[in-house]
Every structure is written in structure tokens, then in C-alpha cells.
């Protein structure tokens, strides 16, 4: 069985990476781990009450759950499980510790496109995967490009 790490932003478009994992490993049973980045809260109270599973479940939409279920159904022979992991570190060293714990074989990341995170608490783990996982495959991903949040700037009011 192979363990493959895939970055996710809990969108249906990001699940295309799972299909590429199946395409690239036709003979293997795959344990897919979808990795999302989440910043730890600033306050003590929030840190004590921080629950990874709860944060992940909050991001699930009906469309995403349906798409994931369809994937499992279509590739039952290839996909053993699809699980989610949260990376809460801030640098590559933390990510290396995170990887040791996961013991993954390879990673599949989107090429020339970053995942769009709805909230500033969440971040894309693609760059960490590219830097720290030995076997990384970059694949093209179709889908709507996330519109980044526009920061308000007073200067921009007069920047014509």
C-alpha cells in the first residue's frame, strides 16, 4: 500500500489531484492523505479549545462530501482510504517533523497554481510538500482560479 500526500483547500477542484494519484499508481492500493495548513490561534483560550477534527469538519461542504464519496466509489479498487491531516507549523523543520509522523511515500501537487484558502487562518501546504517530500509529482489542475482577498490600502484610494 502506498501513502500519498495531497494538498487540499476543501474544494472539488482540488480533488482532481486524487485522480492523478490513481492514474500514476494503477497497480497499488492508495492511502490518500489530504493535507491542509492551519495557523494556530493567538490566544490561550483558543489554543486550549483548538480541535483539529472540528476545524476540518467545518470546512466540508455538501458538494465536497459528494465529490469525495464519488471518488471513493469510482476508484474503490485503487483507493483504500482518504483521510485529512492538519499542519499547524510555520516552517520546513516543523513540516519535516509532520512528515515523519505521516511516513508518506510521495506527494502530488498542483502545477503553476496555488490553492485558494477561503480564510486567512488557512494556508496552502503545496510549497512545503514540494520542498520536503522526496517524490513529488506536479500535475495540471483545471478549475476556477481562486480570487485572492484584496487588502484595503488607504494609498490605493488615490492610486489612479
Amino acid at each position: 500500500m502506498k501513502k500519498i500526500l495531497i494538498p487540499t483547500d476543501f474544494s472539488v477542484a482540488s480533488l482532481q489531484l486524487v485522480e492523478y494519484a490513481v492514474l500514476n499508481n494503477p497497480e497499488s492500493r492508495l492511502h490518500i492523505v489530504l493535507v491542509a495548513g492551519h495557523r494556530l490561534p493567538d490566544t490561550r483560550w483558543a489554543m486550549i479549545h483548538f480541535n483539529e477534527r472540528e476545524e476540518i469538519h467545518k470546512q466540508f461542504t455538501d458538494v465536497f462530501i459528494t465529490a469525495k464519496r464519488c471518488l471513493m466509489l469510482e476508484h474503490k479498487k485503487s483507493i483504500e482510504t482518504i483521510s485529512f491531516e492538519l499542519f499547524t507549523g510555520e516552517n520546513s523543520c516543523a513540516f519535516q517533523n509532520f512528515l515523519e509522523h505521516l511516513d508518506a511515500d510521495e506527494a502530488i501537487v498542483p502545477k503553476a497554481r496555488s490553492l485558494h484558502c477561503r480564510d486567512r487562518k488557512w494556508f496552502d501546504t503545496t510549497k512545503y510538500l514540494k520542498k520536503n517530500v522526496k517524490n513529488v509529482t506536479e500535475v495540471p489542475v483545471e478549475g476556477p482560479v481562486g480570487i485572492p482577498k484584496q487588502k484595503f490600502s488607504f494609498i490605493n484610494l488615490f492610486n489612479l
Partner: protein, 462 residues
Amino acid sequence: MQLRTKITSVFIVLTSLFLTGVFMLIYYVSREYTENEFYLRLSQRATIAAEAYLEADQMNADIYDDIRIKHLQTLPKEKEIIYPVDAKPKRPLTALDSTLPKRFFQQIFTEEYAELKKGDYYYTGLLYHDSESDFIVVLSATDLYGFAKLDVLRNTLIIAFFVSIVFIFILGNYYAKQALSPISRIINEVNSIRAENLSLRLGTVNGKDELAELSHTFNNMLDRLQLSFDLQSNFINNASHELRNPLTAILGQTEVALDRERSAGEYHSILKKIEAEASRLDFLVNGLLKLAKTDFDSKGFVINAIRIDELVLDLKRNIDVAIPDNKITLDFEGLPKNEDAITLLGSDSLLRVALSNVLENACKFSENNRVEIKIVSDSGNILISISDEGVGIPEDELKNIFEPFFRASNVREIDGFGFGLPLAYRIIKMHSGEIRVISQKDRGTLVKIRLPNKKKYLSTIH
């Protein structure tokens, strides 16, 4: 009306309304304060007047008079009147001033204090209790200084209002012009783009505002248009080339046949070659016709209920005859027990064409290596996946694979015309379905087709 004028006008109207409201509030508050302050002064003077005149002590009267004259400025047109009254039955003992309203005196009796404004005059009245009897003291005056101050304030506010409006007009007009100038630039640039110079693009606007987004959207549209133009011209080139090849071969063979007398065997061989080329031409023309038909006739096909598993099995049987070396495997493990879940409404002939094109591609481009077809059903959809371990499609060419006559760069040696997948795409779209291709060069291709089942299709149209 120009957008610039509209923006400036709306801006001025809104600001005028706001300024009017604010200035009126300032004037109103100032007037209220001035009046209250004057009433207070009047009431203080009324109290002092009562103390001065109604206390029996002459020395007190002189002291009070002295205080009033030296320290409390006499108010303009000040007048004080003292009326003896009987407080308990609330009855005056002399005639009251008839020019003042009766409610004024009634209020003095009940509340022991009253205020009144009549014209330019302010009146205060208080009920004074002496040791021997009761009196009503009424003091009146006009607030000339207060009125003058309010006049100055009013005039200042009016002038400030009009000056503000002029400034807002000038600044608003300038800012609106600056904000909308990129649109004028975009209009000029778009006007300069023609079919001959479709590669021109709008200058990239810095920033992430709506105008930058408009520029990006235009440029994306121009990219798609240019691609479509290029593919159409390629289509015409490729179609002409493809049609020309068999025609050239046929003409060549007939020229050879007519060149000199030949044996029956030679004529037979030439005719066989002409037949093969004519069949190829026929196949090509049929494909073009089907492509054209799906473009313009998407509503004209006959709808039947089709069991997808039976269709696929039938196709497999046909392919076994056409391509005996095929290694197609069918995976129907995920098929639901409910027959309706895998029955769809559509054209049997068209769906056969679509699925057989995809299957033949899978066999052709994987050199008859393993091809797997899997059918599952979920949430009202029938999901068909066809995977192969063939040459795959280069990732920069993936976006063009549904364009007619497009052929990937890594399959030029393999026979084909490039309309199988575009045809399949259109047929599936006609059936309200989706087709997606996931592919990696030298790894293989996964084609995913999603079609609504009968129940979902009927609920969609109703």
C-alpha cells in the same frame, strides 16, 4: 449622460443633502442654547427684582439695586411688572397684562415658573411668596445680541455650504475623470483589435480593482477567440489535407489504371486500393457530417431509455470483432441493484458513437494494453470511467483535446483524424452530461463521463 457626469452629480447631491442636514442641526442647536441661556438670565433677574422690591428691608433693596446695575448688565428693552396675587385660589388681585396669553399666568400659578416668547420678546414669570402675601413677577426683554450672533452664524453656514459645493464639484469631477480614464483607454485599445491582429492584448493594469479584472477578462476572452480562430483555420487546413489525401490516392490509382492496358488482376488490385481510399474518405466525410449535425441539431434526436451496462457490453462485443487484441476489462462491481439508477434517457446511436470513440482511443493509444471500464452510480448520476496505460496527453495540450481535428503532438504516427473526442464531448453535452480527461504523458489517461440517470434527467426538465 456620461458616467463621469453621473458620478459627479450623485456625489454633489449626496454631499449637499448631508451638509444641509449638518448645518441645520448646528443652527438649531445654537439657537436653542442661546434662547435657554437668555431665559436663565431673565429668570435670575426676575428673582433679584422680586427680592429687591418685595422684601420690606430698604437696605436690602438698595443692595440689590446696586448689584443689578453694577454687575448684571441691563437687558435690551427690559421691563419688569409685579402683580399681587392670591396663590391658594390661584386668583390675581389686579388686572393681568391682557396682551400675554392666559396659559402663561396659569402655568405660573401651577408650576411657579413659566417662560414665553412673543415676537422678539422673551418673558419669564415666577410666583414669589412673601411673608404677608404672594406676587407674580414678570420680566421681559429682547435678546438683540443673541439674534445678531444667530444671524452671523446663519450667514456663515450658508456661505460655507455654497463654497463646499463648489469645491466638491471641482474635486469630484477631477477624481471621476481620473477614475474612469482607464475605461477610455481600454475602449481605444479594444477598438484597435481586429481579426488580423488578434494577438494584441490590453496593457496590464496594475492593481486588483474592477478595471484590472476587466482587462484580465478581456485578455482571457481574446486568448479563447484567438485559439478558436487558430483551430478553425487549422481545422480547414487539416480537413482539406485529410480529404485531399484519399482523393489524391484515388486519382493516382485511376491515372495508373488508364495509363496503359493492364491485366484483369492489376485492374482488380487498383480497384481494391481505390475502394479502400474511398471508404476512408467516406468515413471522414461521415465524421464531419456528424460533427456539423451535433453543432446545429442538438434537439432533434430520438430519446429512449438505455441501460448503460447493456450498452457498454454491446460495445465491447463490437470492439472484440474490430480489435481482437483488445484488453478491455469491465468492472461492474459497483453497479447498484436498482435498475433505474443505471438507466438513462438519450439517443442510443449517439451514445454508442460517443462511448465507442472513447474506447477505441483508449485501445489505440495504449497499443492494446490494459483498458478498464468501470460503471458506478451515485446521487442520480451514472459515472463511467475509462482508464488506459497508454501514451497519455502532454499537459499543455490537454485544454485542446476537445477541439475538432486537434491531434496531440505525441500521437502523430498513430492513425486518426482528431474528431472522435470532440464528437464524444458534444454528444455527452447534449445528454446533459460531463466528460473530463485526466492524463499524464507516458503514464496513461483516465476519461470520466458523468450522465444523469433517468430519474434525475426527468426531475431536471420538470
